[in-house]
Amino acid sequence: MKKLLLVVLLIISLLYVYPIIFTFTSSFMSYEEIMSGNIHIIPEEFNLQQYYSIITFKGEYFHYFLNSIKLTSIIIFGQVIIGIFAAFAFAKMDFVARNLIFILYILAILLPFQVTLVPNYLVFDKIQRLINIKIFDTHTAIILPGIFTSFGVILLRQFIRNIPNEIIETAMLDGASYTKILFKIVLPILRPAIFTLIILTFIDNWNLVEQAIIFLDSPSKLPLSVFLENIYYNDFKVFYAGAVLYIIPSLILFIKGEKYLMEGLNIGGLK
């Protein structure tokens, strides 16, 4: 019985990786084999034509790749830095209307992106006119809401709350400031949570779609996550190689950081 169930489980896990394997093996097929249209997973012969073509002829591919890297890395950086301070304040400090503000933060992650879309657009419009900088059709329009999503704050707060108050109180008695406590005591404990936040924010923004199709008008500014659609329709013979190159950073980060996710996402917890 146990053996049978284990086999079932193995088959299930194979089904989950199948689309990924299919995409990988298809990237080693020749143009003719890709365009032939029949479904098969093993290439007739191992062929690097697609990769060669992307690297030598399709410089624009890397232009979009860089757009994705730029957007993702700035958003991660901003969200982590701002999130650490805010999460510490929510977890261990007192200020006016703290609980009420935190409820707003929680409600905000429950909302689909589209809900704050237009109002967001109008706020950008006001800012643009007020201080005369261009926001529409620039990466700023994506980066700003990305940095200030409440997800990171909530995730890190749950973690900091578990740090015993006594540790912080003792440090305070020794004359340490909040800033010092945050950097010397909290941050080292917070590492798995920060890695979790980095991984999840990376995955989310590496797959950025909604914001880009609304806020960016110039095709050249699109991240690769959206531009892949264009490759699919206009340059299908190199699509799979393009897809694989785009999956790889995400997969590596995920496999490397999976153990942190187990720790970092465990906020529900059995009480």
Binding site: T23, F88, L110, N207, L228
Partner: protein, 274 residues
Amino acid sequence: MIFESKKYKGLLFILPSLIGFGILYVIPFFGGIKYSVSKSSFNSTFVAFNNYTDVFKNNAFKIALKNTCFFMIISIPVLIVISFVIALMIYELKAPKIVKLSIMLPIAVPSGTVVGFFKKVFGFNGFNLIDSEYAMLVVILIFIWKNTGYNLIIYLAGLSQMDKEVIEASMIDGANYFQRLQYIIIPLFTPINVFVAIVTIINSFKIFKDIYMLQGSYPNPKIYMLQHYINNKFNDLQYEKLTSSAYIFSLMIFVVVFLLFILDKKHAKRVGGN
């Protein structure tokens, strides 16, 4: 919380986040209400709830609402059950790590990279599910494929923290596996289930990415979702329709999540009362 005297310091720490969050999320959310009760994007005459009632009469909205509800009602419970069963199997059978990793891997796969696969398997001539009236089935499959991993992480973390003694005691009492599941494990998992349900609801909005990458802004009407409707109203500059439908969408979500919280509270009370 700890040192009352340093109240202003807390504000200092929260300020950068609060300014951005306020300007980009809170103000827009409440600011949108004005548009939802205005005659149009360019005419702010007060029309009370006319836009809300108009939206409900609109065919595209009705289809979008129906599809979104159908998708959520089917896919969320199915995903939760599937991920719980898989988590139990992995835990009880002490499955090799590669099993867990394989099921989690789709989390890291951007929507656009697998359209090649999904279009080929579900969209080729002769067996074209994506353009058929069963397109929602494909969407639900993609959703389950992509999101089992998240829930699996949470469930496996929960299982590893489970009190072994309770389980062993029940085994001595002669309870079989399904009795143990029904009377011990599942009740014990109520708070985790609530958390998983909320995470699943949040992740269910992201299905738009996959549908968009498969079929763009105007997909098969069978998989035309509220997010498509809202985006398209944006492009048509019909902000009053957009905001009113967005608030209807938000209200639906808030109600469901609120009910889940009540369930969680009830459970906590029951456990505390014993």
